[in-house]
Amino acid sequence: MQLKQRRIGKRLRKASQRLLEQKRGPAPTGTLAIAGVMAAPAAMAAAQPGEWELNSAILIYSETDRVTAIEPVFQASRYFDNDRIFSAKLVVDALTGASASGAVPAQTFQTFSRPSGRGAYTVGPGDVPLDDTFHDTRVALSSTWSQPLGTNLSGSFGLNVSKEYDYLSIGGSSVLNWDFNKKNTTLTLGLGYAQDQISPEGDIPTALAYQSYASGSDAEQSQSNYAAQEGSDNAERALRDGSDSKAVADVLVGLTQVIDRRSLVQLNYSLSLSDGYLTDPFKVVSVVDASDGTPQGQIYEHRPDSRLKQSLFVRGKRALENDDVVDLSYRYLFDDWGLRSHTVDVRYRWGLGEWFVQPHVRYYQQSATDFYQAFLIDGQPLPEDVSADYRLGDMQAFTAGVEVGRSAGAWGQWRVALEYYRQTPDEPSDKPGALAALEVAPAVEAVMVRFNYDFKL
């Protein structure tokens, strides 16, 4: 004889509380609290079918006197039967602060028009011109579906959309993983395509055209000229395009090899082809006097219409005898813009029972692109492509940080990281006149704080 199938838990709980003369509601701490049959806390077990895995993080990135970014991320992954996973990720990126415009400093005040073409800002003597109206919010949504495609083959397919005030990017990607040699070797093939549209406020500037506000002899003069020159500025902008676009295609071929019980190595070759508008519409190049080095004005930069990047990435991970993990990676990247870069990244995860501490060091070095010029000399013929963006010049960057976290616990796991990042661009060697005494490409320092929290439902 079967009893009715219905949940009786609540009534039974109440009845037993009445029997034991306990107060209603949540049981008092102690005696008859939660039924707790559980093992000692252990690392969060991998998600099982039917479960949600939620990963969240917030990053605060702050440069001294320049950009500050707050970037929350939320990712939810749902695990289905038969190794199928759906994952969706939302990234918000709120930027405020100033970024280098590309113009050189001068011994006098300089005034520049804002990227939007509306209004102007003034930079003091010796200061690197920073565009201080730099703030934008980016929202990026992406989703991925992964599933097995055969006994040893699996695939994942993704779509992503990223939207900023003046920018829209839509892309798709697919990755195939083929396991063989008892899953000790994995061959990865990745393909990606994205279409980006940029429509800056104030339209796309004409490449190599003079920006309307030339440097003034002092701040007051420039301010007073502002109203008078507005009309001509608008007239010039009418010739520009409202928006432009680019397409990016990526291919990645990777090989992952298990070396032994404690180590594995990954080798990736990737190729990325960008085609279209690759110029930064907000960057300018100063034109300076050949003898005294005084800026005569600045022109909008222009970059080539296509870029072919290739990189080779090698990474190794090894768990030491004490179960600490060493994670080493190196990337060599080169492109047809003449850029070469080396990146070395080292992490050491030091396990302390349920806690871990992970120091991290990263070194980056790049050589300038062929068309990088910190400034142009007045009177010389204009090059076809030119950019004074220090990020395309010779530079080194160094990151040092530490992450601390707890990898166990019934309520999920969290970790917090603090990192220091310093970029040191090379100073141009042939600065004429007064410019020689000024720092054109000062170091940029930033501090990053990140907090992650992962849990399962």
């Binding site: 093992a39 000692a40 077990a45 991998a46 099982q48 008892k182 899953k183």
Partner: protein
């Protein structure tokens, strides 16, 4: 009155483990199961699909116990404690052996984790499978039923 003997053991006492159901691999002998159909499963606490296979194996064992099925599980965990903790979490009552050196695993030449074998009443392997997904269940159950009716 119910006469259920309950033993309280302490984690650090060796006697606690003596009372545990995890037997050393050396005690495993297929000949002990002659006349029965054996579903032999190699698992480890670190193997993700193994977590899903245990409830199913428990069901299969209770459904076919009377027909002569024995589900025997072999842990290849390096640490005995990890295997025991897994069994505690799973609340498993299945026969369990501990093969930290991989001696049995090597004998059976596992293709993946978990790996399972259906062994007929004469001790012959009649079916081998690696991995555990929901989609594998009908095939596994078919193999077991076939061996039971043979």
């Amino acid at each position: 009155m119910l006469r259920i003997l309950v033993m309280l053991c302490l984690l650090h006492l060796p006697s606690a483990y003596a009372a545990s159901p995890l037997h050393p691999a050396a005690m495993f002998d297929l000949a002990d199961y002659r006349g029965q159909v054996v579903y032999l499963d190699f698992w480890a606490s670190w193997c993700v699909p193994c977590h899903a296979s245990f409830p199913w194996m428990g069901e299969v064992q209770s459904a076919h116990a009377a027909d002569g099925l024995r589900v025997v599980t072999i842990s290849v965990d390096a640490q005995r404690r990890d295997a025991e903790e897994f069994l505690v979490r799973q609340g498993s009552a299945l026969s369990a052996f501990h093969d930290p050196a991989g001696t049995l695993a090597e004998q059976f030449d596992l293709a993946g984790m978990p790996s399972s074998y259906v062994i007929d009443r004469d001790g012959q392997i009649v079916y081998a499978h690696s991995g555990f997904r929901a989609a594998d269940i009908p095939e596994l159950e078919m193999a077991i039923k076939e061996a039971l009716t043979r």
